[in-house]
Assembly symmetry: C2
């Protein structure tokens, strides 16, 4: 069975979550996840370079062909939206420099896909990511959010629900 790697990204300038799942079309499994954290003493341009280098290394290593990035509409104010935009631009650019197809999902779409409820709590997303991917423990929040958006993409691509534990093919 061929597994297709999907890169999920939860953008942020202080913490950039990433996660890769493998999608067979009939189910998903965990590949890797983590959080890129640029040293706080760097200037903004160097922080962005740190994040860009980190993401492109991950892409070059795991060779996903698509990336799924959380779309943001609920920034607190213009100032925080601007800073978040910098990190998100770098996430999109890292994907497009490597010729990945980029997909965007709103937080509500991601929560709906993973928890089944568009206004779920962050901790519920974390727990469902752990469950859906058969992980020993819940990933760090930014990594869990990145995995969640990758799961959301896997679901929406094939218009099916994720391969939940205990749910057989015939149950769908």
């Amino acid at each position: 069975m061929a597994f297709r790697p999907i890169l999920g990204i939860d953008p942020g300038s202080r913490a950039m979550g990433y996660g890769i799942i493998l999608d067979s079309g009939a189910g998903i499994k965990f590949e890797t996840a983590g959080v890129l954290r640029p040293p706080q003493d760097l200037g903004l341009a160097e922080k962005l370079l740190f994040l860009f280098d980190g993401l492109t290394k991950i892409i070059d290593h795991f060779k996903p062909t698509v990336s799924a990035v959380e779309a943001v509409f609920n920034a607190r104010n213009a100032r925080s939206a601007l800073i978040l935009g910098h990190a998100r631009g770098v996430a999109l650019l890292a994907s497009s420099t490597r010729a990945l197809q980029v997909f965007e999902y709103t937080p509500a779409q991601v929560k709906q896909a993973v928890v089944g409820y568009g206004r779920a709590e962050k901790s519920q997303v974390q727990q469902m990511v752990k469950l859906l991917l058969n992980l020993q423990k819940a990933p760090a929040q930014d990594a869990a959010d990145a995995l969640a958006v990758a799961i959301c993409h896997a679901n929406s691509t094939l218009n099916r629900i994720a391969a939940r534990p205990g749910l057989r093919q015939g149950d769908r």
Copy 2:
């Protein structure tokens, strides 16, 4: 006399202004300027790649060692700040991937440096850029804004006013 190229950038996702001036320490002169406009039918990630490729080509050709980028505080709302942040992140990243030192100036600092008045109109900036750089005609607005921030950097670096036409060294 050694001339040091300074890259000025006026970031935007639909129009990214750039301008390079040469700074001798005793005066400045025009090198190049223009506006990068990604095709409107591209997705955001591909637009950002278009802008990144354009900026890095300009950097590789003209070999500036510093870039000056307009800092933004007056975005109309969170949504427009987010989009602008994407473009600005790409501008900073293009600079840092090429190991340029990045400097940021507020619109008020730029206007103060170029027009002598922090709340000057856009058209006044355009006209003063034309005058300060001895251009035959005023550059397009985004290009003029990029040149203005480069001029601002030249001025602030050496704590002197720009070499205005008719102003001799001894007058300062």
